[in-house]
Symmetry: C2
Subunit: 238 residues, 2 copies
DNA sequence: AGACGACAAAATGTCGACAGTTTTGTGTAT
DNA sequence: ATACACAAAACTGTCGACATTTTGTCGTCT
């Protein structure tokens, strides 16, 4: 509706927080990269106080790690806990999506359906421009539109945090697989379409199964990434 | 081990954070109470900077609400979302406790068993001194000892956050029911004992059912509280 | 040459002060 | 007496400077 511009009387630290959050989730800031307070202060033309405030907020969400008396760094991708992350994403996706199907209103159904179409378009745009952002952002929007319909603020918050981390993982995968040949938006959209249909008929059992399959698809993409031998062409004997 | 005293070279804001967190979870600070920065600065003999930092951290955990350009307040108890809170507590308790039973080590089992005994003692102390803190803290410790054994850092974090809020609810219930007549530590401990036994024999299905019953017990205590007519002795006609 | 220690540089942690906004209180007009 | 306008007070948001801690370097000693 309104939202004339993106700068609508935000406080300084809020702007820094929002910008850094976006940079981190889009992997424009590399995991492990140190975030110097004076450097950020210069970049944003602000004092260190609002910078610190933004960093503390980000630390609360786990997006950055504060090393006491040392530099704050962008949270590293935790490969060690990746299986547990995927387990949790699966669990909360099943829970939110099932509850959404059972409790959704007509209005929420319409929003979910619109989010599906936006995803398909964004995914095609990503292939056309070789830019992963639209694909990943619209996918996030679609699943969050479903999650919001579950009406459980606790599940929404936790699932949203996991999806945030999933954004970083998605971008990381795209960075290494620069050619987006294996991205088939129609395949993903086929699953999304089934989800919307299940939500439309309030079929909780069906969407829980679909959510599980969808999470496993994501899991498989990542196992591919982790298993891929990125050094096979490097000779170890010479 | 070490831990000579509680003040072991902590930074100022960390001390404020820790203290405020404890005060909020123990309901020494009432929900909705405004937290004035200058007042807190005087109380802790610090500047406003470390105070603000602590408040921002607490806001990230949802323990306080920051009203822009207005005073920060202790997060109100959200009665409207209480059913959803209890649903989520049930779900994550089942998940963490089942995984704990299936993945625990012998060392973790011993810690859980010790936490059970500590709870029984703390609960008796609470009755003797009419102070709810030991009962609630040792109950938290017991369930977190189980949760830690599930080895999933995401579930541990989210379940821990829910248990934090459960602490506040528990203290609130005790404050209104000043007589702790209905507190039967042996009953709760009986359930705890069954849980430990299920974990000992790695019986995931059994402990999931026990966790569900346990969550329902908590739910019932709260429904009693919510349903109780606290105004029955107040005349509305005069 | 390697190890230990003092010194220097840089970053974080904290402080006191100023600016902008919201709330409170007062006075006036109706 | 009530409602509105304005002023004063209180509080948050931000700033620049100082204090403390850590890190890196250099020099000396073994």
């Amino acid at each position: 509706m309104a939202e004339t511009t993106k700068t609508e009387k935000l406080t300084g630290s809020a702007k820094v927080y929002k910008q850094l959050r976006e940079d981190i989730l889009r992997m424009d800031l590399a995991p492990g990269q140190p975030l110097d307070e004076v450097g950020l202060a210069e970049r944003f033309s602000l004092s260190r106080s609002p910078i610190r405030e933004a960093l503390v907020k980000l630390a609360g969400e786990g997006l950055v790690h504060v090393l006491p008396n040392r530099s704050t760094i962008v949270s590293p991708i935790n490969f060690q806990d990746l299986p547990r992350f995927l387990d949790t994403l699966d669990l909360l996706q099943r829970a939110t999506h099932r509850l959404a199907a059972e409790n959704r209103t007509e209005e929420e159904l319409a929003e979910i359906s619109a989010a599906r179409e936006a995803f398909l378009e964004g995914s095609r745009e990503s292939i056309a421009t070789n830019n992963s952002v639209p694909h990943i952002e619209r996918n996030y929007d679609f699943h969050m539109a479903i999650a919001r319909a579950c009406r459980n603020p606790y599940l929404i918050r936790y699932y949203g945090q996991l999806l945030d981390e999933a954004k970083r993982l998605g971008h990381m995968r795209f960075q290494f697989k620069s050619q987006t040949t294996d991205l088939k938006p129609e395949d993903l959209d086929a699953q999304h379409k089934q989800m919307v249909e299940a939500i439309a008929r309030r079929d909780g059992a069906a969407i829980e199964e679909l959510a599980h399959e969808h999470a496993n698809l994501f899991r498989g993409q990542f196992m591919d990434y982790v298993m891929a031998n990125h050094t096979q062409r490097v000779a170890v004997t010479y």
